[in-house]
């Protein structure tokens, strides 16, 4: 496991972790039947990007002119947008459930009742 050496002080470990979370998110989005499960996949992907931003803001800068905080601020905005997205998506899920009595996406395939 030489590629994991260096522990928390190596950029590439964070990138690999976030890549793994991203792949998990994609798998969840493609293969889940439940709409909430797909939403969980989206959240995983957003977390992966957040880790990437913070990791690069810590390790990736060449010249620090206070820019070491920019990545963190981007992550904050990502978190906020994820919250907004989750609220709307879950509201949609509940609305779909009220009309269709299910949230399995392969059974909900018409636009209008």
């Amino acid at each position: 496991m030489e590629w994991l050496s260096g522990g928390p002080n190596v950029l590439s470990n964070y990138l690999i972790l976030s890549g793994f979370l991203f792949a998990c998110g994609i798998f969840a989005m493609v293969s889940r039947r439940n709409a909430v499960g797909i939403l969980m996949g989206v959240e995983l992907i957003l977390n992966a990007t957040g880790i990437n931003f913070v990791a690069f803001s810590r390790f990736g800068h060449d010249k620090i002119d206070g820019s070491h905080l920019d990545g963190q601020i981007f992550t904050l905005f990502i978190i906020i947008l994820a919250a907004a997205e989750a609220v709307v998506a879950l509201a949609l899920v509940l609305a779909v459930f009220q009309t269709h009595k299910t949230i399995a996406l392969n059974e909900v395939d018409e636009m209008q009742m």
Binding site: S12, V30, R58, I64
Partner: protein
């Protein structure tokens, strides 16, 4: 821990188990933020994700499905599963190879990055006094040697390298590093996105209410 719970999130047959695994995963990501010295982001992660989004997800699950029975056929069939697996593996392999190939070493950082940082940020409001900034500017080598270390290690290193005013240097560095710089940035440079996001949150809230409410006759 984060990675394994992410596997459970995608693998669990019962959606509620996946939600609990997602909780652990969010906590793990929060821990990663702490490791990266992003305390504020970690706190926000805990509050918003674990405290907010996860509760919403739980509510949605409870409202919308019969949790006890609904464990069968969570997948969309073998075709979707294999497609998803192939896509996920391809993405991960690509990212992994790219990271291995790039391998950005820490040491390639600009040697005087730390002192540049002091020079530029020293002009903007920061909690460090002028005296402390001058002290930091006098020791570029020392600053460089601690700029990627954790606070505890940095303190030990400073005291080892200059027993005389290591303590003072550390105080100055901590004051300077701008643990509170996020506030300045959010209210200064990023004020427009900040306001736009607040409007967006309001819109999302109203939109959610409009979507779920029952039609009034």
């Amino acid at each position: 821990m984060t990675a394994s719970s992410a596997v459970v999130v995608v693998g669990a047959r019962n959606i509620l188990h996946a939600a609990f695994a997602l909780c652990i995963c969010f906590l793990g990501v929060g821990g990663i933020y702490v490791l990266l010295h992003a305390d504020f982001v970690a706190a926000v992660q805990l509050i918003v994700y674990v405290g907010g989004i996860l509760v919403l997800i739980m509510f949605a699950i409870m409202f919308s499905s019969n949790v006890a029975e609904d464990t069968s056929a969570e997948r969309r069939g073998w075709f979707s599963t294999t497609t998803g697996l192939v896509a996920a593996l391809a993405v991960f392999a690509g990212l992994f190879l790219m990271v291995r190939r790039l391998e950005i070493p820490l040491q390639q950082q600009n040697k005087y990055a730390a002192v540049d940082y002091v020079n530029t940020v020293g002009v903007t409001p920061s909690t460090a006094t002028a005296e402390q900034i001058a002290l930091l500017q006098k020791n570029p080598e020392l600053l460089h040697s601690i700029s990627t270390k954790s606070d505890v290690d940095a303190k030990a290193e400073l005291i080892k390298q200059s027993p005389k005013d290591g303590e003072k240097l550390f105080d100055a560095w901590m004051q300077f590093k701008g643990r509170y710089g996020i506030g300045h940035k959010l209210a200064g440079e990023y004020i427009l996105p900040f306001e736009v996001v607040s409007m967006l949150l309001l819109a999302a809230l109203v939109g959610a209410v409009v979507i779920v409410r029952k039609e009034l006759n």
